[in-house]
């Protein structure tokens, strides 16, 4: 009896050991295709758009979505299945996405790299390490990437940012230029690159300048004092640059400023807050989500500023009440062909967001679930190929 009991114990133990062998490999998460709108014949060159979801910091959940105008299909999370061998997928915090030539560039902030993909397949061509990279612009075969991580000098708390120059043929870093503190968005006008310095890590000593870089010499030639905590930048057809200030979240509110690129001086203040800008023709679309630490409340605005007439022409471009459903507007783009407005809602940042498509008149056309924190949109003139 006793012996039998003992062997029963050993048997149970053995069973456990066998049971303990787990198949360790996880599945690659496939994309989810949703038909959000009827198929439509596409006349103009824009065939679709890519949307880069940031993913919450430290969660490695940056993801890439694609919408195809011809089929009306939204493809959520296309990167892993097309790039099964890319270790840890797209990475941590997608901060910018742009197309240049036949390549799609995704700036992955907390992975410190730029993922370079074929724009037709979204398959990886290469990746370029740029520490704490933020945004990317292009000119004459070169990419320029703003980065918080400039050279570290004696005072570690006074670390300037830089703009890194990348040859788009070789995909190698070929130079860097030190600018202000924590540089954000950039625009290029002629042979000059303008970068908005935020100084967001130096609270309360925010930076308040735009650095001007001469692209011939790739040196900073000037700093234009604008306002604290600068972020977004757009340039219109007349060479006027629109730059936003985030304020300090207390007393100093967000505002939008204009720089004249001929004189490199501040030409005016537009007196509307803006968290994001999108320029389509002469219409400068913006939304602002301003949170006040003093009142503990959010204020959300959707504004259109006409750059020709130089005045605000709309204080709410969402007309059908959908704006009440949008918790945290985080992405904004306007299709240059049909004028449809895309607004991404990041919600609570830790669950999937929603992308809304509005008609030019501000009526909701469709909406779809995205990845976490839908944030950056780029239109493509090449349909994404389906063969993986």
């Amino acid at each position: 009896m006793n012996k039998k009991g003992f062997w029963m114990f050993m048997f149970l133990l053995g069973m456990l050991l066998i049971f303990s062998c787990r198949d360790d490999d996880d599945e690659i998460i496939p994309s989810v295709v949703t038909k959000v709108t009827p198929s439509d014949s596409v006349l103009g060159p824009v065939k679709g758009f890519f949307l880069l979801n940031e993913g919450n910091m430290g969660s490695n959940k940056a993801s890439l979505d694609y919408f195809d105008y011809a089929s009306g299909e939204y493809h959520k999370n296309i990167f892993p299945e097309r790039n099964p061998n890319v270790v840890k997928e797209l990475g941590d915090v997608g901060n910018d996405i742009q197309i240049y030539g036949s390549k799609l560039y995704a700036v992955i902030n907390c992975s410190h790299l730029i993922e370079v993909m074929d724009v037709n397949t979204a398959k990886e061509i290469s990746k370029i390490t740029v520490t704490n990279c933020r945004y990317i612009v292009f000119k004459d075969g070169y990419a320029y990437v703003s980065s918080y991580a400039g050279p570290v000098l004696i005072d570690p708390n006074a670390r300037l940012g830089e703009v890194v120059k990348i040859d788009t043929a070789t995909l190698q870093v070929v130079g860097s230029c030190t600018v202000g503190y924590q540089p954000e968005e950039m625009v290029i006008v002629g042979n000059k690159l303008y970068v908005a310095n935020s100084g967001g890590y130096r609270v309360p000593n925010y930076d308040n300048t735009v650095s001007v870089i001469d692209l011939e010499t790739f040196e900073e030639i000037k700093k234009i004092t604008v306002a604290i905590n600068l972020h977004r930048m757009r340039v219109d057809r007349d060479g006027l640059i629109y730059v936003t200030s985030r304020g300090d979240y207390y007393d100093v509110h967000s505002n939008t400023y204009v720089i004249n690129s001929k004189t490199d001086m501040v030409a005016g203040t537009l007196n509307f807050p803006a968290s994001e800008l999108y320029l389509c023709g002469d219409s400068l679309y913006s939304y602002s989500t301003e949170y006040s630490k003093i009142t503990g409340k959010w204020t959300i605005n959707y504004t259109i500023y006409d750059t020709k007439m130089r005045r605000v022409v709309s204080r709410s471009f969402i007309k059908d009440g959908t704006d009440k459903l949008i918790v945290t507007p985080y992405a904004l783009a306007v299709n240059p062909e049909n004028g449809e407005i895309l607004v991404g809602d990041a919600g609570d940042y830790v669950t999937p967001g929603t992308l809304y498509c509005f008609t030019p008149r501000g009526k909701k056309k469709w909406s779809v679930q995205t990845g976490d924190i839908p944030a950056h949109i780029v239109f493509t003139t090449n349909s994404l190929q389906y063969d993986r």
């Binding site: 050991l17 969660s59 892993p80 941590d92 669950t351």
Partner: protein, 669 residues
Amino acid sequence: MKFITLGVLILLCFKSGNFLRAQNVDSTKMYHIDEVDVSAPRVRKEVIPVQIMEGKVLEKLSVHSVADALRYFSGVQIKDYGGIGGLKTVNIRAMGTQHVGVFYDGIELGNAQNGTVDLGRFSLDNMEAITLYNGQRSAIFQSAKDFGSAGSIYMTTRIPQFIGNKKHNGKFTFKTGSFGLLNPALLWEGRLSERINASFSSEYMYTTGKYKFSYRKKNGYDTTEIRRNGDVYALRAEYGMFGRIINGDWKAKIYFYDSERGYPGASVREEPGKFKHQDRQWDTNFFLQGSFQKHLGFYSLLINGKYAYDYLHYLSDPRLDVSTMYVNNHFRQHEVYFSSANMFTLFPFWNINVSVDFQWNKLNADLVNFVYPKRYTTLVAVASALHFERFKLQANLLGTFVHERTKVENGAADDMQEYTPTLVASWQPFQTGDFNVRAFYKRIFRMPTLNDLYYTFIGNIYLKPEYTNQYNVGVTYVRVFDKRCLKRFELQADAYYNEVSDKIIAMPTSNQFRWTMVNLGEVEIRGVDVALQGSWRFGQDWLFDTRVSYTYQKAQDFTKKESPFYGDQIPYIPWHSGSLILNGTYKSWFLNYSFIYTGERYEASANIPENRAKEWYTSDFSLSKNLSWKRVGIRLTVELNNIFNQQYEVVQCYPMPGTNVKFIINVAI
């Protein structure tokens, strides 16, 4: 030493069977549990679900910290950031880590700053017992704070015990193994006089924190990396005195802990080996605490007092790691605590207790725009206990009064007063057989932490407390057999329903880098906890103890009705989890096998494939041998943990170690 005598083998057989065993109505008496008491265990029907692990059991489990041991309890989820130095916090019945009160030798370990205690920092070296109560400790003669958490963990350190005429006990332990672990510990106990004993316990720990981990995808990538910057240095020293007086006793303790650790950070995509991750944290914790109790006929008095100082320094320096930005923050916390509990025995079957606690907290930090908060908390508890032979009833009402002040004018949150009740009952329906039914209801809250209220940018002074309501029904059953292999069998099963409302969560403001705290979140938890335990004997020499625990939890997020994820399981709570411990003794050999299972769960409140986390289960083995040489007892142990080298994560992007080993030598005189 005790553990090498045959008597102790018998003791092990019974004594380690205390998983479900409980304390007296007066739980403060647990400090007087006699280690060499070999009489048959008296089974006390606890009115509140309680789980205990005591010295001998803890010794045999191949675990390092209190957090690791708590994984074997049912209804408990540990958030573990990996490695010996990684943060480990406890979540009881899915209500959240900040609802757990952690008590060290009877007095709560506070952390007014962020409300959680890192249980990975408490080693088991000098631990006598770890006890977990759902609701509250089922005594009424206790401080008001003991009534003040939704769930409580009591860590009880070793009390000096002397056999015969011995005047001193000494113990030296050395542990080494994987992760470059060096862990010597020293314990001395002395009899200072007939009525006063003292003990000194000290421990040093160093680990490189390095380990390999892999991520693999089917038909995709396969990568193996090394966890870096997880090194920890820690020093702990404590000195305690224990005195006896007529009809009472007193004790005092001084505690010091100092550590430096690296943050390995989230394991996210980046160019392998490019960035060093060099951010570090230094902690110093000090406390002085004392306790006194005396029984005078129908009146009993318990006084507790404490002063604590906690220092935290965090540094992230781009000179060491180019990818980071410069952050250099220092936080200093002070706490003063005083409590008086007064129990009146009106009739032999009826006790009434009135407790009044006062606590003062202060937080200093070199953050921009910091308001330097101070918190004054007064707690008043009135409790009543009725105990008849087969029926027990306890009820209490806790009043909490909080007043805060800041250096900056108008910077403080409003005063707050809350009254919260608890009702506990237990009933033995049959005259014979040890079968009991119990139930409790408890409403309690957690205060917003000082970080929730005042952290620059993130804090929100308009926060309300976060409430929990708990309803629990359960049974306990114990049976002792004389003639079978199975000597003893215990069962405890509870079903519960919890609500968490006004949950304090972080909400982003206008961008990812700016969050704020808000009262938004409703969670409903339905669960079942089951724990089974058996003691076995085969032949003359084989003794086995088995314990199995199982937890089912359906913890749903009912925050936002419009959300497509309304009603989804909350993050990191598996539906199924469980553990198994097999403990064998053969003469002077000890074998332990322990198994932990955590089922599928989600890493975010959206239950979609992207957030799915795979189940994991680990198997740990340990083998010990006791030797004696003259009057010196030596114990040698080998541990083999995660023997199947399972690669898993408890927290997203924080990989856990694979197979690892540990060697322990223990010398006692």
